[in-house]
């Protein structure tokens, strides 16, 4: 079974979101998503400073099997990217909620975070798939 940490928020498109102490949001793809994709071989990252609207495709994760867009969970600005993924994209398979994070966004409206799905809702979503 996929690992779904309780302290994170989630999207219907299988991103996870962690609220950092400085109010920024770290984003990655869930354990369930990386399992479905299989071996990840390439990640196209957004640029630091890039503005994004909720639902924009800002990154691409490609496995041997398929390419998958990664969407911005909230409107804001990309403030950090995980450049380690350029040479070691398999970190997403190995540690999706840790070393495999993809980008960090500073939300325009901090309250957008509260609108995101919690772990129980995400669990329900993937068990319906």
């Amino acid at each position: 079974m996929s690992n779904i940490p309780q302290e994170l928020r989630y999207t219907e498109t299988h991103e996870w979101i962690r609220l950092e102490e400085d109010g920024t949001l770290t984003v990655g793809i869930t354990d369930h998503a990386q399992e479905l994709l299989g071996d990840i071989v390439f990640v196209e990252l957004p640029e630091e400073g890039e503005e994004c609207a909720a639902g924009d495709d800002v990154a691409v994760v490609e496995s041997v099997k398929a390419a998958s867009d990664v969407y911005a969970p909230v409107t804001g600005e990309v403030v950090a990217i995980n450049t380690k993924l350029t040479d070691t994209p398999e970190l997403i398979n190995q540690d999706p909620y840790g070393e495999g994070w993809i980008f960090r966004v500073k939300p325009m409206d901090p309250e957008d975070y509260d609108e995101l799905m919690d772990a129980d809702a995400y669990q329900e979503l993937i068990s319906e798939e």
Binding site: G38, D39, F42, V64
Partner: protein, 359 residues
């Protein structure tokens, strides 16, 4: 969904199972890239029992196959020898690609693709009319491919005293050991064996191979291995809408002797006379990213072809593909990937053979 005799083994090993032409087959047991490297560096095994084995026997078996196949079974003078061939329709379109083994006088064995089995058998039976020949589907057999630089010695260990009867097999030869048949063939670009054996004996043999250090590998690794080896996949790289001459398979069409009237010959000769307009080439992506089936290929800025099989090459660490392009395409093209164009180098497959990069 259909199950091979090794289905329980795959489930017990925790494989991720997928529907492959109506068969519930292992995609990967863990990381498909690790399974790929396992075959390039050591030894891996694949359950290929979903493929169909057909025995063709009778006094006119040879005559029948010389009519049925674009390659010539008379190239199989020595008993035990194997031949790769296309089976064509009258228009020269590829119905299937296959391996045919010459077992003995009046006795041949063909291995055809799983997904095409029904149409192949219907065609083969229709073409058998008028020939004194018997076609028998051997669904009593399982098949395991053991591939990699150490594959043969590991199989020899499992075979014990019987090993000496296969140890001298040259590439592309088969030996029968009672109810078992061992062929030095494969679909990975590595040395190894394909072993046919009674379905009831498959699970035990599989376990003994595991005990001998052969790792199970799924269809995912099988696809990247065959692509690196520059081997076509039926349904992706060719089908009824193209001929072998447009599919990098001209070498498998035996036009000599000129009086052998195989099905599709007239159409291929016509195509040769008019000029073959397209060819199948290898592509290596210069940029980062992954080439995928059906991505458009641009020559001189205009869409002129298509990727037929694209993937990530674990051995080369970059994207590779087979693509069908105009015959006069030079050594560089562009590929449209997700709305952007990327430069790709045109190469002659294979990309990798016996563990070594060739491009």
């Amino acid at each position: 969904m259909k199950h091979t005799p090794l289905h329980d083994q795959h489930v017990a090993l925790g494989a991720k199972m997928v529907d492959f032409g109506g068969w519930d087959m292992p995609l990967a047991y863990g990381s498909q890239i690790e399974e790929h490297h396992q075959v390039r560096r050591d030894a891996g095994m694949f359950d290929v029992s979903h493929m169909t084995v057909v025995d063709i026997t009778g006094p006119q078996a040879r005559d029948y196959l010389r009519r049925l196949l674009a390659n010539d079974v008379d190239r199989l003078a020595a008993p035990g020898k194997a031949l790769y061939s296309c089976m064509l329709d009258e228009q020269g379109g590829v119905i299937d690609d296959l391996i045919v083994y010459h077992l003995d006088v009046d006795r041949y064995r063909m291995v055809i693709n799983a997904a095409t089995t029904d149409k192949d058998l219907a065609w083969m039976r229709r073409q058998a009319e008028g020939f004194d020949v018997d076609l028998k589907v051997r669904d009593d057999l399982a098949m395991i491919a053991v591939q990699g630089p150490t594959a043969r010695e590991r199989v020899h260990r499992v075979l014990g005293g019987e090993a000496e009867r296969v140890a001298d097999l040259k590439p592309f030869f088969m030996a029968e050991l009672g109810e078992m048949a061992v062929a030095r063939t494969g679909y990975t670009g590595e040395d190894g064996y394909e072993i046919m054996l009674p379905a009831g004996a498959a699970a035990d043999f599989w376990q003994r191979l595991l005990d001998a250090g052969v790792k199970p590998c799924g269809l995912g690794a099988r696809d990247t291995l065959r692509l690196e080896a520059g081997m076509n996949l039926y349904g992706a790289d060719m089908d009824e809408t193209v001929t072998p001459l447009e599919s990098g398979l001209a070498w498998t069409v035996a036009f000599e002797p000129a009086d052998r009237d195989f099905i599709g010959r007239a159409a291929l000769e016509r195509q040769l006379a008019e000029g073959v307009g397209r060819k199948l080439v290898g592509l290596v992506l210069e940029d980062r990213g992954v080439l995928r089936n059906h991505q458009p290929v641009l020559v001189n800025g205009a869409v002129a072809g298509e990727i037929t099989s694209g993937s990530f090459s674990p051995t080369l660490g970059r994207a590779i593909a087979l693509a069908r392009v105009p015959a006069d395409t030079g050594d560089s093209v562009e590929v449209q990937m997700r709305g952007k164009t990327h430069r790709a180098r045109v190469v002659k497959p294979p990309f990798v053979r016996h563990g070594k990069a060739l491009i």
